[in-house]
């Protein structure tokens, strides 16, 4: 880590979130995690989708890509492939990540790029003013489901674990210091690290609130076997409490390592003339 003056990751743009928004806690933890890592701002790229939480790149002093809805992961993957030295962090909400973006997650997981994906999960669509989200509870009442949600929610932890993610964790925006530690672990993990952060929306979701989570939260049990995918899944399916901490982690070749292995395995071309000669 280079010896530098304290790097300020705060940009001069003030967050557009409502007072009391859970995302403030995430933002603070993000700043502190980057401070702990000492990343140079020029080497840091935040990639987001569409939603309240996806505004976060503007609030961080780094490169960013505020893309279109649901495409955080392929955008981030393209950036990381083009320049593996960059520190790439994908960020977005539960709608962006588990509705329109859900189809990209299994494949990003399969590639295992060395990026961190943080979802700020408020079980609602906030920016569009209060519709049901894929993580909203069954029978949840919103403007789009005035008679109650008829769908069962996605289980973000189980989703990531089943698709094979090499680092899966849950956090809570109300516990900033622990969240910072979790983010540092996720960033340090070599490979695709996924963190679902419970990040309540005080404006549109009066059910999944800070108070509710604070009363129903427990840390992941100390004896939990983080290297056992089946045990991690069991933990994900527990309905008694919301468990925060690391559910699963393992070491696997990253996408960049696999790409490099292929490049090193094949005989190099001597150049463009040689390529053309193949058509003679």
């Amino acid at each position: 880590m280079p010896e530098t003056a304290v790097i300020d990751y705060k940009s001069e743009v003030k967050p557009t979130w409502c007072p009391g928004c859970g995302d403030f806690g995430v933002l603070r933890a993000v700043y502190e995690a980057f401070e702990a890592k000492g990343y140079e701002t020029k080497d840091l790229v935040l990639v987001s989708g569409i939603g309240c939480s996806s505004r976060i790149p503007y609030f961080v002093n780094s490169y960013g890509f505020h893309g279109v809805h649901g495409r955080v992961l392929p955008l981030a993957t393209g950036i990381k492939l083009a320049n593996p030295r960059l520190h790439v962090v994908g960020m977005g909400g539960d709608g962006d990540g588990f509705s329109i973006g859900a189809g990209h997650m299994p494949h990003a997981i399969r590639r295992n790029p060395d990026i961190t994906y943080i979802i700020m999960d408020n079980n609602i669509y906030g920016l569009t003013k209060g519709q049901t989200s894929p993580t909203s509870a069954f029978q949840f009442v919103t403007k789009s489901t005035p008679y109650g949600n008829i769908e069962d929610p996605i289980n973000p932890m189980a989703f990531a674990i089943v698709y094979g993610a090499t680092f899966v964790a849950k956090g809570f925006s109300g516990k900033a210091r622990e969240l910072t530690e979790l983010f540092i672990k996720a960033i340090d993990h070599k490979g695709f690290s996924f963190v679902d952060v419970l990040s309540p929306c005080p404006t549109f979701n009066k059910v999944d609130t800070f108070k509710y989570y604070a009363e129903h939260l427990s840390p992941v049990p100390a004896d939990h076997a983080v290297k056992d995918r089946v045990k991690a899944l069991e933990l994900a399916y527990r309905t008694d409490r919301h468990y925060v901490g690391v559910y699963y982690e393992e070491d696997k070749l990253t996408m960049e390592e696999r790409v490099k292995a292929v490049q090193q395995k094949v005989p190099a071309s001597t150049g463009l003339e040689e390529l053309m000669a193949r058509f003679v």
Binding site: G64, F65, H66, R71, T77, G78, A82, V262, L275
Partner: protein, 584 residues
């Protein structure tokens, strides 16, 4: 009379080796010095159905695969039944003696015991197509060792026994024709080998062009007829330190390409109509965030799933307008295989310099058509870099700085002092989201201003024919071949006509194409689509009479069809105009 070219079509069941016979014959012929031009179709399913390979051999540069057939080789009865109507008068049928009923053939015919030799002599029925290869090779006076070398290369991984059997099959086919074919001399076209040409398909040329243009990142999704661009690059890019990712869908493909480009590297994807439809939202993002991007669309018959292995030119509207809002892009259509190479380089240069998405419109008939083209002279190929922000000490970087050309220096991650957030929201010069009315208008104007600046770098419209003529014909994409041949024949017949071949199809105007067509009073616009999409776009820059000519059966134009239209229009133009006002 000296023969200068010959058109042969091979028809048989898909899976019988019709395509490999054709491919190897093409390559052998090209190495022997022939100019080659191919046309192929195959059914959308994997087994069963009919396959065609058509090859035109010549001693001079070719523009199309010809009109009627000189020779038809029928591997099976269907191979005869489906194609005999296209044999010209005096054409000849070659047929597999075991599978085709000779007595029903009224043309000059020669039976080739392809199946018989493969089964009884070579003891390998599958070698039928290699017997055919040998036979055709001898017919066209292609030296045997060219054929043998190719066969050895093709079966190299299958073991010596397989290699030897196939080489024997080729020899047997050669020998049979040597001994039994009447009038071999009549089919001889004298040519000499040349190393100034390469044999390549349209799709391969796009891939090669991308590599030469400096692209080392390709992201794609399999789709007929674009998959072989990905497959070619998947083999080549890792050898150059690059990477190909088969993404989970077309949306992911283009998003990855945008990410890679944002990170400072050229990137592309290739797809067909259904994939391009999926990509439109992200094309808008690239336009709004001003990210260089090249997307190739290998058009096929639509709409929806359409006819995946048939050709059409019906994605032009999608390429030009496909996006909500007003998101500028440039649309280029290469007009032959050689141009697939050069236009791909042009596409990258325009994308990089103007930080804009560029759509490259090819089509199915051009994609897997193989031609012998002049070997590109790499020393003459210009590769243009994007205008980069190099950092400027204290001055605050404005990613979307308003400039006269509309192009703002681009900083990519890793560059100190270049911090910014690229975004799809409307933004200020610094890239901060902003909804102010004046700002939006300034930014929209900036993005469209880039299109006008890009005019300076557009490849010129090619012109062939009588420049003073008031009758014109204009083609886009692969239709050039048929139009060019038809124009040649029309001029030979004394018809005054001029033909125009633009490569940039959008934007038009401001000096591009409008001035070129100034003296034309009647313009024929042949297109392989039903709505005349280019004819409609032309209205912006041309106010004379437009005569649309549309075919949309899934097959490309033939020169004869176009010639007939030219003759018809020329005659109409010459008739004195009847006045429609009644005498009082």
């Amino acid at each position: 009379m000296a023969r200068h070219d010959i058109v042969i079509r091979i028809g048989g069941e898909s899976g019988e080796g019709v395509i490999s016979t054709g491919e190897l014959l093409t390559l052998a012929a090209a190495r022997a010095g022939f100019y080659v031009y191919t046309f192929r179709t195959y059914p959308a399913e994997i087994k069963g159905g009919h396959a065609i390979y058509q090859l035109r051999l010549s001693d001079h540069n070719l523009y199309s695969h010809g009109d009627d057939l000189d020779l038809l080789l029928a591997f099976n009865q269907e191979g005869y039944d489906k194609h005999y109507l296209e044999l010209r008068e005096g054409g000849m049928v070659l047929y597999d003696t075991e599978s085709v009923k000779a007595s029903a053939i009224p043309f000059a015919k020669v039976g080739l015991p392809l199946t018989e030799i493969a089964k009884n002599q070579i003891k390998m029925p599958l070698a039928k197509n290699m017997v055919a290869l040998g036979a055709l090779g001898r017919l066209f006076w292609i030296p045997k060792d060219y054929l043998e070398k190719l066969v050895r290369e093709k079966f190299a991984k299958k073991g010596q026994s397989v290699i030897d059997k196939n080489v024997d099959a080729v020899k047997a086919g050669c020998d049979y024709v040597e001994k039994n074919f009447p009038g071999l001399e009549s089919l001889r076209i004298p040519v000499k080998p040349s190393d100034e040409r390469i044999v390549i398909s349209g799709n391969e040329a796009v891939g090669l062009g991308a590599v030469v243009a400096g692209c080392r990142h390709y992201f794609g999704y399999p789709i007929t007829p674009a998959s072989d661009i990905m497959e070619y690059l998947a083999g080549v890019l890792p050898q150059l330190g690059g990477v190909v990712i088969q993404a989970e869908d077309e949306i992911a493909s283009v998003a990855m390409a945008i990410g890679a480009s944002f990170a400072g590297h050229r990137a592309m994807s290739a797809t067909a109509g259904p994939g391009l439809s999926l990509m439109t939202e992200l094309l808008g993002l690239a336009g709004m965030a001003e990210i260089p991007l090249v997307i190739a669309d290998i058009q096929r018959a639509g709409p929806s799933t359409g006819m995946p292995t048939k050709t059409e030119q019906s994605d032009l509207n999608l390429a030009v307008y496909g996006n909500h809002g007003e998101a500028p892009r440039i649309v280029i259509a290469p007009y032959n295989v050689e141009d697939c190479f050069y236009s791909t380089v042009t596409a990258f240069n325009l994308a990089e310099k103007y930080q804009i998405p560029v759509l490259l419109l090819s089509d199915q008939s051009l994609s897997n058509r193989t031609e012998s083209i002049p070997k590109p002279d790499l020393s003459k190929v210009r590769v243009v870099e994007r205008v980069k922000w190099a950092g400027n000490g204290g001055e605050r970087y404005k990613r979307y700085q308003l400039t006269e050309s509309g192009v703002s220096p681009m900083a990519h991650p890793g560059t100190a002092d270049g911090i910014h957030v690229a975004c799809g929201l409307e933004h200020t010069e610094s890239g901060r989201p902003n909804y102010d009315p004046a700002n939006h208008m300034n930014m929209v104007d900036k993005r469209f201003r880039k299109l006008r600046a890009a005019l300076a770098d557009f490849p010129p419209v090619e012109i062939y024919g009588d420049r003073a003529s008031e009758l014109g014909i204009i083609s886009w994409g692969s239709t050039l071949g048929a139009v060019r041949e038809a124009t040649e024949r029309a001029l030979e017949k004394g018809i005054k006509i001029c033909s125009f071949y633009p490569r940039v199809l959008y934007p038009l105007g401001d000096g591009y194409l409008d001035r070129t067509l100034e003296n034309v009073k009647t313009l024929i616009v042949p297109e392989v689509n039903s709505q005349g999409q280019f004819a409609t776009l032309l209205r912006r820059v041309y106010s004379g009479a437009i005569v649309r000519q549309n075919i949309y059966g899934g097959l490309p134009f033939r020169p004869q069809t176009i010639l007939e239209k030219i003759e018809e229009v020329a005659e109409t133009c010459q008739k004195p105009q009847l006045s429609t006002t009644r005498a009082r």
